[in-house]
Symmetry: C2
Subunit: 436 residues, 2 copies
Amino acid sequence: MASKPTIGFAGLGAMGGGMATNLVKNGFEVYGFDVYQPLVDKFVQAGGRAAKTPKEAASHADFMVSMVANAAQNSGLLFEGDDAAVHGLGKGKTFILCSTTPTKFPAEIRKRLDEEFNRTDVKFLDCPVSGGTIRAADGTLSIFSSGPNEDLDAAKDVLECMSGNLYRMGDITDGTKTKTIHQLLAGTNIISASEAMGLAATVGLNTQAVADAVNKSDGASFMFENRAPHMLNSDWSALSALGIILKDTTIVTDAAREISFPVPLANTAHFTYLQGVQAGMLKEDDAKLVQLYLPNSQGELVAEMSKADVKMNSSHQVSKETIVDLLSGIHLAASVEGMAFCKELGQDRKLMYEIISKAAGWNAMFTKCIPGMLEKDSWSLAECPEATEVAKKLSEAVEKCRLIQYPCPMAAAALQKYTFASLENKTIGSQGRDGR
Amino acid sequence: MASKPTIGFAGLGAMGGGMATNLVKNGFEVYGFDVYQPLVDKFVQAGGRAAKTPKEAASHADFMVSMVANAAQNSGLLFEGDDAAVHGLGKGKTFILCSTTPTKFPAEIRKRLDEEFNRTDVKFLDCPVSGGTIRAADGTLSIFSSGPNEDLDAAKDVLECMSGNLYRMGDITDGTKTKTIHQLLAGTNIISASEAMGLAATVGLNTQAVADAVNKSDGASFMFENRAPHMLNSDWSALSALGIILKDTTIVTDAAREISFPVPLANTAHFTYLQGVQAGMLKEDDAKLVQLYLPNSQGELVAEMSKADVKMNSSHQVSKETIVDLLSGIHLAASVEGMAFCKELGQDRKLMYEIISKAAGWNAMFTKCIPGMLEKDSWSLAECPEATEVAKKLSEAVEKCRLIQYPCPMAAAALQKYTFASLENKTIGSQGRDGR
């Protein structure tokens, strides 16, 4: 234990608290800082040490890890005021950025360290994480580490303690770009879970049975499996607040805008999150967005099943299979959109496939269809053999939503992608365009 | 004529060339500058005077008008280098910004004049225009003028000479915000024309007859009437390049992002334009985007009618009326989105109604439905009595597109807005949600 480096840790919230405590459990001495004192107290009870300022945490640290919420908070704790971490960090020590930030941000940090604070000695690693609160506490996160190889080597023990899957992506910004691509999938998967479960509830299906069926089907995703229980239990206790995924889809869509690359599914997810903000849900669990689709139910999915004011008859034809088809169709379109974005951002597609397969952005269609597309490396649905059948089923699901006037922005946007692809390639839409 | 002020004019392209020449025709002495010498030569042939630099144009000017393409070009001509206009402008002279720029830009210009160049004496007016090349040359543009009242008074003769409809919006940035709201409509109307005409061509309707019918119907818009002839004649000679409307939808969606306001139709238009860029159409006429919907035809709409490889039968049921329903449905949803955005940006809704009714963002549903909503000032489709019927017809049009696998991203996105609205209010969707 004596040989382990000392850690400074900033941001002891849902993710950071678990990560810091896991480091403590594994024998690291950790000085934790948070602007919210009760989080620091909780960390101390779990065996951590309290730091009153970022500077104090940094002054003890061989490695200063940051898991605060966003770029502004990172700039603040690193650079602003006399208590900033930059004034505490010892010569040659390392700052590890684990927060999800805009793709330009890591280079900004390096530049400010070098030019504004004359701290070229400070090592800086860009290491965003994925996996949610449980994996954070277990030390089994996916970590997309990037920076100079020798500095990554030196930080290996710390990074390995926090991660189940530790990837090396290249130089700084590559880690953050990887996370951005990953969040395109995370962001589309989360809102799709609400769209799907809202549909199941609206037509009076057994929502628990639907969730069970989805988890065993092509419609499965990490996010669906994680969020559906929140909906089924009406548990809106902000395990991951809407504001977090909204920040991430902002980063995704901003990065796409910078390179003029169209990401219609990510955009649709983004403005559906904004609708949630307008409905007052910014600080609540993102799974609560199911209420957008169930305005009269306050999102009580189980209660919804027996509601008599939604007069259902058998003609709607929405079944468990419809829900699966809706999700599969969205997930495949989003998977291809994500890989196209990956290529456009210059990141390695084969490595990205491995990463997403094991991370929170995973969905069943991704592992089913992406491997067959890696060789050709051409990211259009027109290049995906499975797309024809998936599109046909998605089209039928969207039609069923239309008939009962159920909103399905993600499914509708996905269907447009398949339809454009069908113009590109006779693989899809081989029936021709002559109606049915 | 001796009493008329002297004008400097920067940007002699499709719009600016017409505006500057119109000023010359009306007896103003105009010093024109453009980076592209042939445009200056053409202007001199039309009676204008040539300026070799922005500084030279400005040095003669009582009023320096700028109609260059974007914010970067304005910053360049005003501030960059020894030849910048700021060094030519005489004491107390006026700079009139007519270009469409981001909502933050006018305030930036004022600040740089005051603080960076110590030119508080220079008057600055934020006066974006709308109307297209014909109205530019005729001096019948809509101008959204803003700035200090006394400076607007002093510039009245110049502004009136260029405009058919001259509005006073308030202080600087209000003019640009007005243009931004207007461009939400212009941007959604332009791409909708392509979506509609592409559908007509795909199913083998007489495209000229469809265009004629649309122009007399609820599906009419300024942009449809203007752009459909380009499609019918396969005239892609960049009367208004894709890059221009793409810049404008970037401004619209950026402004919406800054205030976290969802504008799904503007976003859908924006990424459809990006698809056009990816297809290599950046510098071509924006009407050429109809080719996105007709990949095998190179957009030859008339030729498309007789194409045998698109095997049509009567089952598709797409008629002239379907095209009208598709456009009406998109236009109403976009009109309400635009007015909601107007409210969010703090601009006057009644004045905006007047403005758009007479400008290039006009569509028939706007004048049909918006007046009835002004009193309540609540901008949801749920508040629009006509929306129920419009949504029903749009839904049927989208279904017909689905059956023939025709892409209709604008119609699909619009339909989602009606569907969400139907959850808000029983006004729409009064059939209940029990299928049909």
